[in-house]
């Protein structure tokens, strides 16, 4: 039984393998090996042999404690999950049930306890046994293959401080072994295979691609359509405002009104309000009650629609107007200042008509500004005009002192 004679090359003795006749011999021999003071050794059987672990002097597994911990974590986690999600983060009332109440939450708590415990039992069994372990020197031993069928074995590792070819063999023989043999690390390759490093490098590089792609999507703008994996009802077969339609020739989902259509609620009869005319002539009075609110409304609307050309004070020096002059736009005509007498003398109805229908280069705003708002703007223009042509009598008495 000289290992060097049997094996050549880099093989080295990994230990000694002794077969026993049955489980009783195995248990007795295990006690003997233990008594001889070995520490790096193991016993193998095709089925669990009771008493073997005790005979070997190994302590009981900690697995049950691990499973208990996992079960507690599962139960605690389930309580916390249900409480936080349904009662704290998004509490919504369903069938008048309380947000959190044990009876309704027990089934999930129970299942989580079982689930985590079971995973811990399975994973813990493997992990504590150091499985999966796809390399082991014993795998090379043809004799040892019978350990999973009908073989009972004891192995003593060469790394054991008590290990000695002759003495250990003798011990095992005295313990009633059927046969002993050495097992080897055959040409054991300790280093990684050649292809490992390039493979790892390529895989690592590939693993970096998705984050890079995501980072690009996250921090760069893109004209590509948004990525929605689950589109389902994002686009429904209905028309929303301003959607396209493949049904109508002009491609619009919204239909333009038939010419001559008047919207519901249009003050058809009230020409003063709608057209700004009284007896066919521009009205000089307002069809609406003149109130401070209406002036304020007019100021707001004026600033939205008018100020950009006419200027905030109505001098005709709005930003757009200035810009057009800066650019020397040939077709641009500076809007008239409202403070010219020519404009001041215009009746309110005429101002209203100008807003509604436009005048000279000024386009019609009738489609953008509702009737009431147009009148409000007219009123505000009146207020602007008064602001430059007022007398001290127009100022409330208690404020006159302030102006002086």
């Amino acid at each position: 039984m000289n290992p060097v004679a049997e094996q050549s090359g880099t093989s080295q003795v990994a230990g000694i393998l002794a077969e026993f006749r049955d489980s009783e011999d195995l248990v007795a021999a295990a006690a003997g090996v233990r008594a001889a003071g070995y520490s790096q050794w193991e016993a193998y059987s095709p089925f669990p042999v009771h008493g073997l672990v005790a005979a070997m002097g190994r302590r009981k597994t900690r697995l049950p404690w691990l499973v208990l911990l996992a079960g507690l974590a599962g139960g605690g986690g389930a309580v916390a999950l249900q409480w936080w999600t349904n009662a704290v983060n998004y509490p919504y009332l369903i069938s008048g049930k309380p947000y959190f109440s044990l009876p309704a939450n027990i089934p999930i708590i129970f299942e989580f306890i079982i689930l985590l415990s079971a995973i811990a039992a399975f994973g813990g069994c493997l992990a504590l046994s150091k499985l999966p372990q796809w390399y082991h020197p014993l795998a090379a031993s043809p004799r040892f293959r019978r350990a999973s069928t009908d073989g009972f074995f004891i192995t003593i590792d060469a790394s054991d401080p008590c290990f000695d070819d002759a003495i250990t063999t003798q011990l095992l023989q005295s313990l009633g072994t059927v046969t002993t043999e050495f097992f080897y690390r055959i040409d054991s390759k300790r280093g990684l295979p050649k292809y490992a490093i390039p493979t790892i490098a390529i895989l690592s590089a590939l693993a970096l691609l998705p984050p890079v792609w995501i980072a690009k999507a996250r921090y760069k703008q893109s004209s590509l359509p948004r990525i929605h994996l689950v589109r389902d009802m994002d686009l429904q077969s209905k028309y929303l405002p301003q959607q396209t339609s493949s049904f109508f020739v002009d491609g619009r989902g919204m239909r333009p009104p038939v010419p001559g259509t008047i919207a519901v609620g249009t003050p058809v009869e009230n020409t003063h309000l709608r057209l700004g005319t009284v007896h066919g002539l521009p009205a000089s009075s307002f069809p609406l009650d003149v109130t401070a609110e209406l002036v304020e409304r007019g100021r707001q609307r004026y600033n939205v629609y008018c100020a950009t050309c006419h200027g905030l004070a109505g001098d005709g020096d709005g930003i757009t107007s200035q810009l057009a002059f800066d650019r020397e736009e040939p077709k641009w005509i500076r809007p008239l200042s409202f403070h010219l007498e020519l404009v001041r003398d215009q009746p309110a109805g005429l101002l209203y008509q100008t807003i509604s229908d436009g005048i000279r280069k000024m386009p019609a705003y009738g489609s953008q500004i509702p009737i009431q708002d147009r009148w409000a703007i007219v009123l505000y223009v009146r207020a602007l005009q008064r602001s430059r042509n007022a007398s001290i009598e127009d100022v409330p008495t208690d404020l006159r002192e302030y102006l002086r």
Partner: protein, 217 residues
């Protein structure tokens, strides 16, 4: 994978590393899915090319046109309309009337066919958002659309996802302002925003609902 690997001791030696990689793989995958699937990745930054390179930075920023000058329906309707051609032509009939970039505009004005603007901020069809309800209660344009006045080409700046909507519905105070200032892009409250928000919530009776049927019908 046992007999065949009986001489590959390296398998045993790489086990700790392999175990660590295996443990990190789920973390890697979860991170990828969360980071990659978040609306900030999938939706934010969407910036479609428009038929005319219209610049909000020029019109809303430099010229300081009010949002409502063009988006006229925003205060009264659920839908904030994209302006029709005639609104553009208010100015462009006389300003840069011959620009080549405005060719589609002139064509639209002469034929009556609408310009096919590409919608940027587009909710799914099962979400019923109402602009007027938000604008009237003082949720500024900038709260959802970002600094449009600085965008040459409009892009989606905020997630506009359900969770993001809920953030505000659960705590609207930081996003409220006096309703006449909704279109102001660079408004900063000159008082404690929280106190102002609470006051505005009381004035307007703002009690945003988080029921499903608030947005989904």
């Amino acid at each position: 994978m046992y007999r065949e690997t009986a001489h590959m001791e390296w398998i045993d030696r790489v086990r700790p590393v392999a175990g660590a990689v295996l443990a990190l793989t789920p973390i890697y995958l979860i991170t990828l899915v969360y980071w990659g699937g978040a609306p900030r990745t999938t939706d934010v930054g969407y910036s479609p090319l428009q038929p005319i390179p219209f610049s909000h930075a020029l019109h809303a920023g430099k010229i300081r046109l009010d949002c409502r000058y063009c988006h006229t329906t925003v205060e009264n309707a659920a839908f904030a309309a994209v302006p029709h051609t005639s609104i553009c032509m208010n100015c462009h009939a006389t300003i840069t009337p011959d620009s080549t970039q405005l060719e589609p505009l002139r064509q639209s004005a002469s034929t009556g066919d609408p310009i096919r603007w590409v919608r940027v901020h587009d909710l799914p069809d099962y979400t019923y958002f109402n602009h007027s309800a938000h604008v009237a209660r003082g949720v500024g344009c900038v709260a959802c659309h970002g600094r449009i006045d600085r965008m040459e080409q409009v892009y989606q700046e905020l997630p506009i996802s359900m969770g993001w909507c809920l953030d505000c519905h659960r705590n609207p105070t930081p996003h409220l302002r006096p309703s006449e200032l909704v279109t102001d892009m660079d408004w900063i409250p000159d008082e404690d925003p929280h106190a102002l928000g609470i006051r505005l919530m009381q004035t307007h009776g703002i009690l945003p609902s988080t029921d499903c049927s608030t947005c989904h019908r």
